[in-house]
Symmetry: C2
Subunit: 173 residues, 2 copies
């Protein structure tokens, strides 16, 4: 049987816990809203302005999204990512992705599992590359992205509060 982009995968974290990674369910929208609102409040990694509104949440995680995936630990949403076309039409083969992990669940390898999972599902959805348009130069996730094969293709000056942002790209599949 061919792999499906919507399968649920059960993976073992470095500490031995099992995390379930699969498509965001409608019943989990509220939990992901709260998780993402806390990330936006902290200013970590995303340029979105706090407080997060439901309209901005939907415009990020629901409306334009090809697939949103969550990581569940004991049934709780502890992290997520989305994949969407980064451009229309003939350039829609390039995905954009965004990842979040709840602050209290970081440094356990959940982020790496989510990024690796996106590399697996993106080609099943028809994407052949994943581009990040705006990664804060100070974002600690940069070393993970570079470890996992993204390369810097550009630099955007004065992106947020005078800080430069990095543009990343990698082929997938």
């Amino acid at each position: 049987m061919a792999p499906s982009p919507s399968e649920e995968r059960r993976l073992t974290m470095p500490n031995g816990d099992t995390v379930a990674i699969g498509p965001l369910a409608p019943a989990e929208h509220d939990a992901l809203f709260l998780l993402f609102a806390a990330v936006v409040d902290s200013g970590d990694g995303y340029p979105h302005a706090p407080p997060l509104t439901r309209a901005v949440f939907d415009a990020t995680w629901v409306g334009p999204v090809t697939l949103a995936v969550v990581a569940r630990l004991d049934g709780d949403v502890v992290g997520a990512y989305y994949l969407r076309p980064n451009f229309p039409g003939r350039a829609a083969h390039i995905a954009n992705a965004g990842y979040v992990v709840a602050a209290a669940r970081r440094r356990r390898g959940i982020g790496r599992l989510l990024v690796e999972d996106s590399l697996r599902r993106a080609p099943l959805l028809g994407f052949d590359a994943i581009q990040f348009n705006l990664v804060f130069a100070s974002n600690p996730a940069r070393s993970l992205y570079e470890d996992l094969g993204w390369r810097e293709i550009g630099r955007l000056p004065d992106a947020v509060d005078g800080e430069e942002a990095v543009i990343y790209w990698r082929r997938v599949g």
Copy 2:
């Protein structure tokens, strides 16, 4: 009186004709749809897949747009551009813009007038930079953008039909 981002400006083209540049009126949506559909059909400059649908037109020129501006020659829409935030929230000070000139009206300086007009209106709308996310490496408009102060900040491999794209940015205002 402070300049307004929605003023109509009457400008003289290099050949002596007068072009009127001002906000897109609802009654001009059909004319701009036809103009942009022809550009999309030709594959010139935009990654959009032909045939252009009204939904894709609206998603490019209406929905997310801060301001759409047209150039009128004897009352006909002969070119246009849009300005929109290129990112949400704290990075929304960076605009994205796209320009079109009807094929039969090119090589008369209309494109340059539109790009210059966008540099004038963008800061009036609160933008402090304009970024182009995907300019085909073969796009002849690149020399105009570079003349008018954009600088290359990145390169996107294999953007459309294997062709590389250039990412441009310039400060405005």
